[in-house]
């Protein structure tokens, strides 16, 4: 039973990796999104799931990564290196900002983190000389044709997802994860048993940023055009926490299950009801809060406890 999450992850990973060989480019694109959202959800899980801090900073990290990666790439840097640099820049940014805003708790922290998204969007809009402002920024299109590029980005996103998952497993089993869970349960008591809460929270916030930065940069190269509203999207910053809550926060597999369920729902149901799809998102959030506060995975664990 303890190995189940790992087995499930490996099967899911292999399935997504096999998509280009068994299905059309449309499904390759969906698989890429599945991997991308899984990695974003795994990232959010560090701060939102394990630590219990309701962060809405996902889009800030994603957008900052997208712009950093795009600018470095346009300046002539090799793509892979540009992505890595974007991840580093975003992580350092998160560590510095986190040290300041992690003093706030609960709603205050949530609002502080959402302000981060808005502030960065304004910066990207105003600094037109550098970022192209509201007109957006073109990124060099990779050579090789759509089939090849589709595969490159699927495997890139899968690689980031794998890295995020391995990091999650290490954190979950280690001292850091245990300390973060203590903070999530009772921050004052955590401080009192000898946990340096400020350092632990900053570490969780930085961990929640590193993969978002890499994904943002890879996304910019993939779509070859970014704009402030697209990169620093409020919808993205809301969607990712909902995915984790849907799957099961503070668990290894929850973000994977949640992101898969969410993206598939998006593709199958919402695409048919374009006018109402945000209303459906709202409905999902409300139903989650009332009926599944522990996420989808809780359905199975509950049954296990009963049996």
């Amino acid at each position: 039973m303890k190995r189940l999450p790992y087995v499930a992850f490996v099967l899911w990973f292999l399935l997504l990796a096999a998509v280009p060989f068994i299905a059309s480019n449309y499904f390759v694109k969906i698989a890429t999104f599945l991997a991308m959202y899984a990695a974003l959800a795994l990232s959010w899980n560090f701060i939102g799931g394990y630590t219990g801090y309701p962060s809405f900073a996902t889009a800030a990290f994603f957008g900052l990564g997208a712009y950093t990666g795009a600018l470095l790439q346009n300046a002539g840097m090799w793509v892979g290196l540009a992505w890595a640099c974007a991840a580093i820049v975003v992580t350092v940014f998160a560590a510095l900002i986190g040290f300041a805003i992690l003093r706030m708790r609960g709603h205050y922290f949530a609002i502080g983190s959402i302000a981060l998204v808005e502030a960065l969007m304004l910066v990207a809009s105003i600094a037109a000389d550098l970022t192209g402002g509201g007109e957006g920024l073109n990124v060099k299109i990779m050579p090789g044709g759509p089939n090849y590029i589709g595969r490159v980005f699927l495997y890139t996103m899968l690689g980031i997802m794998l890295a995020a998952f391995i990091t999650t497993v290490l954190v979950d089993r280690g001292r850091l994860g245990f300390g973060l869970r203590c903070i999530q349960q009772n921050e004052d008591a955590a401080d009192m048993v000898g946990i340096d809460t400020r350092r632990y929270k900053t570490a969780a916030f930085a961990l929640s940023a590193v993969f978002c930065g890499a994904i943002g940069a890879a996304y910019a190269s993939w779509v070859a055009y970014i704009s402030p509203t697209d990169s620093f999207s409020i919808l993205l910053t809301l969607k990712v926490p909902v995915m984790v809550l849907l799957g099961g926060p503070g668990t290894v597999l929850g973000p994977i299950v949640g992101s898969a369920a969410f993206v598939m729902m998006e593709e199958t149901i919402w695409a048919r009801y374009l006018d109402y799809h945000q209303a459906v998102l709202g409905l999902v959030i409300v139903l989650l809060i009332f009926f599944l506060p522990g996420g989808l995975l809780r359905i199975f664990t509950r049954r296990r406890v009963a049996a």
Partner: protein, 249 residues
Amino acid sequence: MTILQIDGLSKSFGGVQAVRNVSFSLAEGEIVGLIGPNGAGKTTLINLITGVFPMSAGRIVFQGRDVTGQRPYQAARRGLARTFQIVQPFAAMTVLENVVAGALFAGAAPSRTEARRQAMEHLEFAGLAAQAERPAASLTLPSRKRLELAKSLAMKPKVLLLDEVNAGLNTAEIDQALDTIRRISARGVTIVIVEHLMKVVLSLSQRIIVLHHGELISAGKSDEVVNDPRVIEAYLGSKFAARHGARPA
């Protein structure tokens, strides 16, 4: 030998002076009672010593080292542990995990396995071994108080500040708690016990410190302190103190 020395500790919250120029020291291995009427500043004093709030003025020396301005996690790692008046478990974790947290982070256990082994010992000591795998939220109040004790013991404290560990317990449970505290003291841990029940204070402590309106009004041997007119006045009012003083007991 002095293990903890407090010099001129003061704390004001806005215009309210919660603790005013309090000084005392603890000798290694003793049990000291900290008493005072409600609102005297006992819990604030403990919060200041363990770094929960920054102090407005004063100095704290622990084991010969100036630790003024330490944060709670630093106090915990140095060996200054405390329990909470209102118990603070990690509710969704098991009883064992609660104690493991203390052993791992403040007690500096070298590994999770070792921390678990130590935690089991402390649970047995506190009489909670049978509940080790239950969630902490499912415990009754007396058991939660025992969990707080086990958790703070796992932190390998040199000084243990017990903030009303007996509040809300019945007579039988208090006797059990007293026995536990004596056994902790026998291990060489210096103990400060904040308590309202005089029976408990008098039976446990070698010395007593009395706070009133944030000031230290009396300190000394138990029998001296309870006959101090200022202490009687603080608890029972000036009229009673005058009458009591007129007729020496």
